[in-house]
Subunit: 329 residues, 2 copies
């Protein structure tokens, strides 16, 4: 049986905002419908190389597909090897036979499916007329979150905060060339960036709180995207006290996400978490119910997002005869 | 950066008894020298397809290589799809950059490195003049254990036990054609197969004890290969009471191996385990010390065996310009 190999550019050609948004939406529904087996995410720490490798894997019962994503943060790559710091490879297996049906780059898939998760959460939890967005961070995920949010909201103002003002300016320039009707502003003060916005998205690998409680106005929605392992934190844990908290996967967010710090510091307990996002999509729990509440979406990412997105690409590539088909096993 | 893809036959061409034996020997030494990070083995149960997928992964510090093996038992494959029940794929990553350097079939590697582990344990724990071997099981691993043991011992008699007498006869015929100086006998009674032999090797997926305590004579060495997850058992747990017990990796054998049942039934405690095999190779613990003792080697298999074996193949293939080199990431 053949294994289809898809490279970075072949994968990128199939990634569209709408189809990834749908794949991620279905992932959250699958997860809450108990259609997914996902062992706990594990990591190998390679601190001598300033790197970390994460293993996210799962089984989609309805698709009968097993997926394994090996994804790394190799922070010295840009400086030492002229390579991106984020690298990922996805393997998909037929769960009837165990044969690998596809192997593909997972870097862009990670980037797109994470941005889609943020945009989807905002459509459920932010005010529908949100027009001011603040993004904390200037990397690839900051850019992708902005692009996805522009697709789903009538944004007029986008604030970008970065430690490195050059990187922030470069991102601003790139985006304002493309989106001429939107006003982009850069800040080196998180408070000023967050003041008066409707949606805040955190996308950094910070290990201490950047967004303080008093920076956030009533009715604001926050997507906590960056913090996905125990030593990371971007939000002041006090923000969790009165907020409506939604997770992608409560058990992972409690052990690896932003929610972890809030629980550990006894600001909230697990029972204060309002919902997993799939429960809102299924109509089992409410999303935003008024214009005053502060909502937080905490995401650590799930294997089923990678499986559903890569499987969608695999099916399209097979149909278009794209990629290289090899007998490996 | 390129990823080298090697198919089943290309991998097989590089698998030789001696080089796999050496790779496995070095793996046990690396493990006991703390050169290896190995998260716990995890599994996904796919019982609706009568299958299971295991994920074995690790990091070799000295090679700066991360390996991930996705290996499955798909028991309906031969019957329904004319495919082998054991399937495996190995991914190797450069731990400096996170780029996948090689992707290869892992089926033969699993088969060879497991047989090498058994033969290596026997060279350390069986009597040097062992000439009678019993193998419980008639599958691929039964055959491979026999072939590896013939290479390291002057075997004269080999007993094969199988539930399916046709499969046992087929294996006997295949082996006696190749090894004309050895007498092969088949049995459908485990007691008769084990009586008076020097080495017993269990290779089945049995879930209840096949080899009883009174079947095993003084001075016998047992390789417990088949039982590698909680519901499996091949040895009577009472065999552990007075035996010298050696594991490949004590923490995994306690949670997934044959040793698990003996501890659970309070026949032994963890402190009764004599050594990890790498400690014997390093001269920190003794192997067999007399001709009377019964020795048991319990193996659940380790990622570093897959990493060292597949890395050896990768280096040879690169040097010989074998395989297909692709830009994936």
């Amino acid at each position: 049986m053949k294994t289809l190999i898809l490279n970075k550019n072949e994968v990128l050609n199939y990634l569209k905002i709408e189809n990834v948004f749908d794949a991620v939406k279905n992932s959250y529904i699958d997860f809450c419908n108990d259609d997914v087996l996902q062992p706990k995410i594990t990591s190998i720490d390679i601190s001598k190389n300033n790197a970390e490798m994460d293993f996210k894997y799962g089984y989609s019962k309805s698709k009968d597909i097993i997926g394994m994503k090996i994804a790394g943060g190799f922070w010295d790559n840009p400086k030492l090897y002229d390579l991106p710091s984020g690298v990922a490879l996805i393997n998909l297996f037929d769960a009837k036979t165990g044969i690998p049906v596809a192997i593909m780059d997972g870097t862009y898939i990670t980037s797109y499916r994470t941005a889609a998760a943020g945009a989807l959460a905002s459509t459920l939890l932010a005010k529908a007329d949100s027009n001011k967005l603040a993004v904390i961070g200037t990397g690839d995920q900051a850019k992708m979150q902005i692009i996805f949010h522009i697709n789903y909201f009538g944004l007029k103002y986008i604030n970008i905060w970065g430690r490195d003002i050059k990187k922030a300016s470069k991102l601003k320039l790139e985006l304002e060339t493309k989106y001429k009707d939107i006003e982009f502003n850069i800040y080196n003060d998180v408070k000023l960036a967050c003041m008066d916005v409707d949606i805040i998205i955190t996308t950094t690998p910070s290990d201490k709180a950047l967004v303080k409680k008093d920076f956030v106005k009533d009715g604001c929605h926050i997507n906590a995207i960056g913090a996905d392992c125990p030593h990371k934190q971007e939000l002041d844990e006090n923000l969790f006290r009165d907020a409506k908290i939604v997770t992608d996967n409560t058990s992972e967010c409690i052990s690896r996400g932003e929610t972890r710090t809030a629980i550990q510091n006894k600001i909230i307990t697990e029972s204060d978490i309002h919902a997993q996002i799939g429960e809102i999509l299924l109509g089992k729990k409410e999303g935003r119910t008024n214009n005053k509440e502060i909502t937080i979406f905490d995401a650590t990412g799930m294997s089923i997002q990678d499986i559903n997105t890569s499987y969608m690409i695999y099916k399209k590539a097979i149909s278009d005869e794209v990629g290289i088909s090899l007998d490996i096993l």
